[in-house]
């Protein structure tokens, strides 16, 4: 809402000394938040004066333009009283016109300093100004020609142009719809200065009678009040008076024609949207009803709309003539030839306005006010004000007859404990102060014992609850008065275990050289295709958004990899030689069930809650990792330590296993085939053993095609795990170990096995065979080559034995080793080298 300060002062007797900044600050403190304060005069340094054009000589120039060499009477403003010689490029004026002149030494908006300068063969001593140059309008349509009575040559033009009238732009919250009017803003301004307020809606209006235009309301709930007034004999050529045009412009609206401008002016002044019909285009009784399904109406924006039975429409005997309270119809629109105007000033059901506006995607100044709630008692005053202005400035005649259908609904009283404002705000607010503050704002208040009973004024439809009254009291007492007191909760339980473990995961990965990223969780077919997912892959079952930001990514993601792969490629594209990135985020699969919309009067039943929570889909927290390019750097120390020099499957698995170790969850791997990984280099990551093993996710090298599709180097690797599932397996309380201090016995064995046999299988066999004396087993070499037959590989394991209670003998160690090898031979076909 933009309001010129002069308009506020017209209705609130603010002290002369009140500056615009202070006024804006006080309004902000009352809840009308300052967005911008426009001070047009601030950008101009005079002398800016009224001038009368004495002579103008058109002089054609070689560049094709014609300039005017003018002499302008600027009174004594130039110090000499002599006419000022000025070159002007515009042509929309004539000798005798009053214009606006900036003299040398002056500065126009944009730091445009004016000096006498030689141009087109003359010394031009100043400039005749356009609206754009003065900051009055966006585009220039020639220079400003002032009305003949605007002033005398030499007068300061700042005041004449209204440039000294600051404009306060405020952000109006939905609960303060009253402030979408000068009436409301001025009322709060008067409140802020404890100054007298003059209500523009307090006027003598002619009584309702039966002589007015016939109106029939079929839906009084949708349209409780409908006022109609008729004027005739409007001078179609009458122009909008300067003060109305200026104020509309200041308020951000474009002047159009007198009749339209007057309805807009009254809307800004009172808050009540007004619609004017060209009465000559109306047929018979005007009515209000709900639309029939599929009824059509072309609104005055030229849009043909198909209506819903919930839409309120205005009709006459010919059919639909408007979408009530939202936008008029094209057929009965006022035009440049309109001489008879039917003024409609009606109150509409806000909910219906809101729904109709949303359904038809119409945002209008009228709709904005009607859907938030307008004072229903001012319909007659607003209509009468429109009639007055059309009569005064349009030469129209007010026809007898005042149609008023319906009465405004009465407001319900609200009972509030008298000490509630003090209790809720923490400010010491005596009950009588609270009562006075409410009365100052137009509430009818009675004190009844420990309670206060307040009837809100009709312009405050938002105030319905005791706590609403508290806000109205506290905003006047002042939010600055709220003291600062720390509450004292009891002992808390700290972070949950899952919260602590998640921090641990991030620290572990960052400690291992991975950098965390945060991506948008949106995904589309192209991203999933780029991962090489099969048509029936479960990760294609997404939850789609009804209103996605991008048609390419219309769904919530089922995997963290698309965002990570993109971020990796972006880093390499920006010059990084290698990156290890990780992200934790929730993913979700499609196939949700409906969630109910429950009541809000009281807590839902357990059954209702259960149904509600069950309908919200599972959103497990995933961990994703991608490794691309250099993982460990080569340097003066030699090569990077990664097996291939570049990040690969082994680095990915190393990070996964490290994570398992940090969380105390032993993880194992086994070969798997799953997109987007290389079919021969993908591991399923498991926790637990045998039948009870849980698959937590996958890790390994990305498929070469996936690397190519994402502009990543071949051999890049990735991981995706269900982090919630992993964290749930972290042991809550680990039993401390009993450490044997007896000597350890070492045995190394090299075993020949088929290349298809996995290290994990051989290791498991060794473990089982070695028995309980085995302390650890570790694969330390894999060899294929000259000494190993075709189709075989040699796996070298270091076995470590120790007993808790004695030094092992060579015989014991040897027997355990032999048993381990025997088990490997039996289960894996291993032959000791």
């Amino acid at each position: 809402m933009r309001v010129p300060v002069s308009w506020i002062r017209e209705h609130a007797d603010l002290p002369e000394s009140a500056t615009s900044e202070e006024l804006a600050a006080r309004l902000t403190a009352l809840g009308l938040k300052l967005e911008a304060l426009e001070r047009p005069a601030e950008a101009i340094t005079g002398p800016l004066v009224v001038g009368r054009v004495l002579t103008m000589e058109p002089e054609p120039q070689k560049n094709g333009k014609t300039i005017n060499w003018c002499t302008v009477d600027v009174g004594d403003a130039n110090g000499t009283g002599e006419p000022q010689g000025i070159v002007c490029g515009a042509h929309n004026f004539a000798p005798g016109d009053l214009v606006v002149v900036i003299l040398p030494g002056g500065v126009l908006p944009g730091n445009f300093a004016i000096s006498a300068r030689k141009t087109y063969g003359h010394v031009s001593a100043g400039m005749i100004c356009s609206g754009a140059e003065l900051g009055l309008s966006a585009e220039s349509d020639g220079i400003v020609v002032l009305p003949a009575d605007a002033g005398e040559p030499g007068d300061d033009a700042i005041g004449v142009l209204g440039l000294d009238d600051d404009v306060i732009e405020m952000e109006i919250n939905p609960d303060r719809a009253y402030a979408l009017s000068v009436r409301g803003v001025a009322r709060d301004a008067a409140l802020a200065y404890d100054a007298p307020f003059r209500d523009p809606c307090e006027r003598d209006v002619p009584p309702a009678d039966d002589a007015g235009w016939p109106v029939r309301i079929e839906d009084p709930a949708g349209c409780p009040v409908f006022v109609a007034r008729l004027v005739s004999g409007l001078d179609a050529t009458a122009t909008t008076p300067e003060f109305i045009a200026r104020r509309l412009t200041q308020a951000g609206m474009r002047p159009i024609s007198l009749a339209v401008d007057v309805t807009n002016y009254v809307m800004l002044e009172t808050g009540r949207p007004i619609h004017g019909y060209d009465a000559d285009k109306l047929t018979g009784t005007v009515g209000v009803r709900r639309a029939g399904a599929g009824e059509r109406l072309t609104t005055l924006d030229g849009t043909r709309r198909i209506l819903s039975p919930e839409d309120l429409v205005v009709v006459d005997d010919s059919g639909l003539i408007g979408l009530g309270g939202v936008m008029g119809g094209e057929d009965t629109e006022m035009s440049a030839t309109t001489t008879r105007v039917l003024v409609e000033s009606a109150h509409w059901d806000p909910v219906s306005m809101f729904r109709t506006g949303r359904r038809h995607k119409i945002t209008s100044e009228a709709g904005k006010r009607n859907e938030r709630g307008v004072d229903p008692t001012i319909c007659e005053a607003a209509a009468d004000r429109v009639v007055e202005l059309l009569v005064t400035y349009g030469g129209a005649t007010a026809e007898p007859g005042v149609t008023v259908v319906g009465t405004p609904p009465a407001r319900e009283p609200i009972t509030m404990a008298a000490d509630l404002p003090a209790r809720v705000s923490g400010i010491d607010i005596p009950a009588d102060r609270a009562v006075q503050v409410l009365r100052d704002q137009g509430f009818a208040v009675d004190a009844e014992g420990a309670d206060v009973v307040a009837v809100p004024p009709q312009w405050r439809p938002d105030v319905t609850d005791p706590f609403d009254l508290v806000e109205e009291v506290v905003r006047v007492v002042g939010y600055d008065a709220v003291p600062s007191v720390l509450p004292t909760p009891g002992a808390g339980r700290g972070l949950t275990r899952a919260q602590r473990l998640r921090r641990r995961v991030g620290r572990t990965l960052a400690g291992a050289g991975a950098v965390e990223v945060v991506s948008f969780p949106f995904v589309g077919d192209a991203s999933l295709d780029a991962l090489g997912l099969d048509a029936d892959d479960e990760r294609r079952r997404t939850i789609r958004l009804a209103n996605p930001l991008s048609a390419q990514e219309p769904a919530y993601t089922t995997t963290l990899l698309p965002g990570l792969l993109r971020a990796a490629a972006r880093n390499l594209g920006r010059g990084a030689t290698g990156v290890t990135l990780f992200e934790t985020g929730s993913v979700v699969r499609g196939g949700s069930s409906p969630t109910p919309i429950l009541g809000v009067e009281s807590r839902p039943s357990e059954l209702e809650l259960k149904e509600l929570l069950a309908g919200v889909p599972d959103q497990p927290l995933h961990l994703g990792l991608v490794l691309a390019g250099e993982r460990e750097r080569a340097g003066w120390w030699g090569e990077g330590a990664s097996p291939q020099g570049w990040a690969g499957w082994a680095d990915a698995l190393a990070l996964v296993r490290r994570l398992g170790d940090e969380l105390g969850v032993p993880l194992s791997t086994r070969a798997a085939v799953r997109a987007p990984w290389h079919p021969g280099r993908c591991a399923e990551v498991l926790a637990g053993e045998g039948e009870s093993a849980v698959v937590l996710g996958h890790a390994g090298e990305l498929h070469p095609r996936v690397c190519d599709a994402h502009d990543l180097p071949r051999r890049s690797a990735a991981v995706e795990l269900d982090l919630d599932a992993l964290l749930a397996l972290a042991p809550d309380r680990v039993a401390g170990p009993e450490l044997s201090s007896f000597p350890m016995a070492k045995e190394d064995v090299a075993l020949l096995v088929d290349v298809s046999v996995t290290a994990a299988e051989v290791e498991a066999a060794l473990r089982e065979g070695a028995g309980e004396l085995l302390e650890s087993v570790r694969l330390f070499d894999v060899y294929t080559g000259a000494q190993v037959p075709e189709g075989k590989k040699s796996l070298a394991f270091a076995l470590r034995f120790r007993a808790p209670d004695r030094t092992l003998t060579e015989a014991e160690t040897g027997a355990a080793r032999d048993a381990a090898v025997a088990a490997a031979a039996e289960r894996c076909g291993a032959v000791q080298r």
Binding site: P174, R423, V474, P489, V518, R570, V600, R631
Partner: protein
């Protein structure tokens, strides 16, 4: 060597003459002092303290002396040998120290060589920022609550006093999921976590809920359709706006430093009544509204001359919300607040473009390390 002098005759043994012993001692000491390295010292030891050294040989002659002379000669030789042994020890220590020094000198490395074999990792400042905030509140006895990002419409809106026709539902343009009959949204705020908390626990409740939220905003330097919010909820007996103000003052100071105070302005949120916007005193101009570096008349660019920066929204929990979530509004009152984590970090660290948070450029996160 002379045979044992068992005859108790005074026998002159030349090597045991005091002059001879002293000469041997002096010779030994001189040789020790002259030894330049452990090898030389080893040779000196053999020559002057070994089995065939003059003093050792002299020692063997003591038996040849008459018994009454043995004591004196023994003491003389013993003293001399002791002095030599001591000198050897001292010299060995000196030479070893010198040798070690030379050896260490040859092993000198260039300690300025890079050791960035494994590039540093980092956690994202949005993560560590959320943890920082959580820790501020946990230190006051609060707890951290979480909830899903795809949320039931009822929890995101209705339970928070935003009915189906509430104008506020258009204020925060919402991502809805398909089909519409599921009544699911990408949560527009972390407030549904508050509703879930009230529905699952009994007061007193003191929780903060950091998390990811969604609105259909354009993506530019100061807006993002995906961003992060922290909300707080306190429900207890006798809670007032004063407790809200105290909590936010503490939060602001802990997050942004001493002297960063807060200001309340009346505002509107359906879930709170009264409602307020909370502003922070401008970090740059400290409330003066003018640029501290460019003189008193230049408007501060950070706060655009207002002296204050918008931080978030807050208020007293609307009793309608308490009732819908099963809290006895005759016994308990509460306060709630919410602010952007992204925005707070931008203030705290002078980040000018919000998109840097979401691009995944490792240069961004590594700047902050793994703890804020």
């Amino acid at each position: 060597m002379s045979g044992p002098n068992s005859q108790f005759d005074p026998v002159e043994v030349a090597v045991l003459q005091p002059e001879a012993v002293d000469a041997a001692r002096e010779a030994a000491l001189a040789a020790i002092e002259a030894a330049g390295d452990p090898e030389e010292l080893k040779a000196v030891r053999t020559a002057h303290a070994g089995d065939r050294s003059p003093l050792a040989l002299a020692n063997r002659e003591i038996g040849a002396l008459p018994p009454q002379a043995r004591k004196e000669a023994g003491q003389r030789v013993g003293k001399a040998r002791g002095a030599v042994e001591q000198a050897l020890g001292r010299r060995a220590a000196v030479l070893e120290a010198e040798h070690e020094e030379r050896m260490l000198a040859t092993e000198t490395v260039d300690v300025t060589l890079p050791t960035d074999r494994q590039p540093a990792g980092a956690r994202h400042p949005l993560t560590t920022g959320a943890e920082l905030i959580a820790d501020i509140f946990v230190a006051m006895g609060w707890e951290v609550a979480e909830g899903p990002v795809i949320e039931a419409e009822w929890l995101n809106f209705d339970a928070l006093n935003l009915g189906p026709d509430h104008p506020a539902r258009t204020m925060q343009d919402t991502f809805w999921t398909e089909p519409a009959s599921d009544h699911l949204v990408l949560r527009t705020q972390t407030s549904p976590v508050q509703a879930r908390t009230m529905l699952s626990r009994t007061p007193p409740i003191y929780v903060v809920s950091p998390g990811r939220v969604f609105r259909t905003d354009e993506y530019d330097a100061t807006h993002s359709p995906v961003f992060h919010q922290v909300e707080g909820l306190a429900i207890d007996r006798g809670i007032s706006m004063a407790h809200l103000k105290g909590t936010l003052d503490h939060f602001a100071t802990a997050m942004f430093g001493e002297g960063i105070t807060t200001r309340f302005r009346p505002s509107y949120f359906p879930f709170t009544e009264p409602s307020a916007e909370v502003d922070l005193v401008c970090f740059v101009c400290r409330g003066s509204g003018t640029d501290p570096e460019r003189g008193g008349s230049v408007v501060c660019r950070t706060c655009k001359g207002e002296g204050w920066i918008e931080w978030g929204g807050c208020g007293v929990v609307n009793p309608r919300v308490l009732r819908a979530c099963g809290v006895d509004d005759t016994e308990f009152t509460g306060f709630a607040f919410g602010m952007g984590i992204d925005r707070s970090l931008m203030f705290r660290h002078g980040i000018s473009d919000m998109r840097d948070l979401f691009e995944g450029d490792v240069r961004f996160a590594t700047t902050f390390g793994s703890e804020l």
